[in-house]
């Protein structure tokens, strides 16, 4: 009866809008179904929880065939900002919250959010550089240990 998925552990390694929203929507969707969810922010994924950067994320216009922008044009100055603004506007129309508000919703919904120790050290970040919703800084080993029940799945984004 019902789903066999009990816990979803997401590893977010990129901070393009499309990757961040994929992780957030899947984590939120899990909680809406009564499934536990956690996100581990690593490498560039950390930008999604850096206070100074989270409202300035971009969508990728180069190396993204589904954007239908020729690769050369995608690299022109301003293209990324243009595409990002179009995407943000469309998401607001669809009632998808901006990154900061989404983090609040995730945290209030019981999604547990963690920063990767290696990446935090690498980018020379401090805990106060990260949003309050981050519960702690973990090693990847610590994060694996959170896969503590049958029906846990780990997804890398």
């Amino acid at each position: 009866m019902g789903t066999t998925v009990k816990k979803m552990l997401f590893i977010l390694s990129k901070a393009t809008l499309e990757n961040v929203y994929a992780a957030f929507i899947m984590a939120n969707g899990a909680r809406m179904e009564g499934i536990e969810a956690e996100i581990f922010f690593t490498f560039f994924g950390l930008e999604a929880v850096e206070k100074k950067k989270l409202e300035h994320l971009h969508t990728a216009t180069v190396g993204n065939p589904a954007m239908h922008i020729p690769t050369l044009l995608g690299g022109l100055p301003g293209m990324e900002a243009l595409a990002s603004n179009m995407m943000k506007r469309r998401m607001e129309q669809m009632d998808i919250p901006p990154v900061g508000e989404f983090l609040e919703i995730l945290s209030d919904s019981g999604v547990r959010l963690w920063a990767c120790k290696l990446a935090v050290d690498m980018f020379k970040l401090k805990e106060e550089d990260l949003v309050d919703e981050i519960e702690g800084i973990l090693t990847i080993g610590d994060f694996y240990n959170r896969a503590d029940m049958e029906g846990t799945h780990i997804v890398f984004i």
Partner: protein, 102 residues
């Protein structure tokens, strides 16, 4: 399919959602809540009525919509209806499972 809830035969889908809201009543809500391990309080009823009104007005339901409306904080919503508040509360309210991903 048909299911007897609070001694009343009602039509439900495979997930247990009522197919005909006119068959819903408070006894059915109490029984559906009990099956989910929830004892309905005034606070639960306030949310149930709110969801029913939104459904009647054909307004789509979402977690962000609940947050924006100010009807209840998200944390509290999860505490009142464990196991996925929007889907559990909708089931008890006798309305379809919301189609939103958010």
């Amino acid at each position: 399919m048909e299911k007897v809830i609070a001694n009343i035969p009602v039509k439900v889908n495979e997930q247990g959602y009522l197919l005909d809201f006119s068959q819903w009543n408070e006894d059915i809500a109490r029984e559906l809540a009990r099956e989910k391990g929830i004892v309905l309080t005034d606070e639960h009823w306030r949310i149930i009525r709110y969801l029913q009104e939104k459904h009647k007005a054909d307004e789509p339901l979402s977690i962000r919509g609940i947050k924006k409306s100010g009807i209840i904080p998200i944390k509290e919503f999860y505490r009142l209806f464990p196991g996925g508040p929007l889907k559990v509360a909708s089931l008890i309210a006798g309305i379809p499972k919301p189609k939103s991903c958010l």
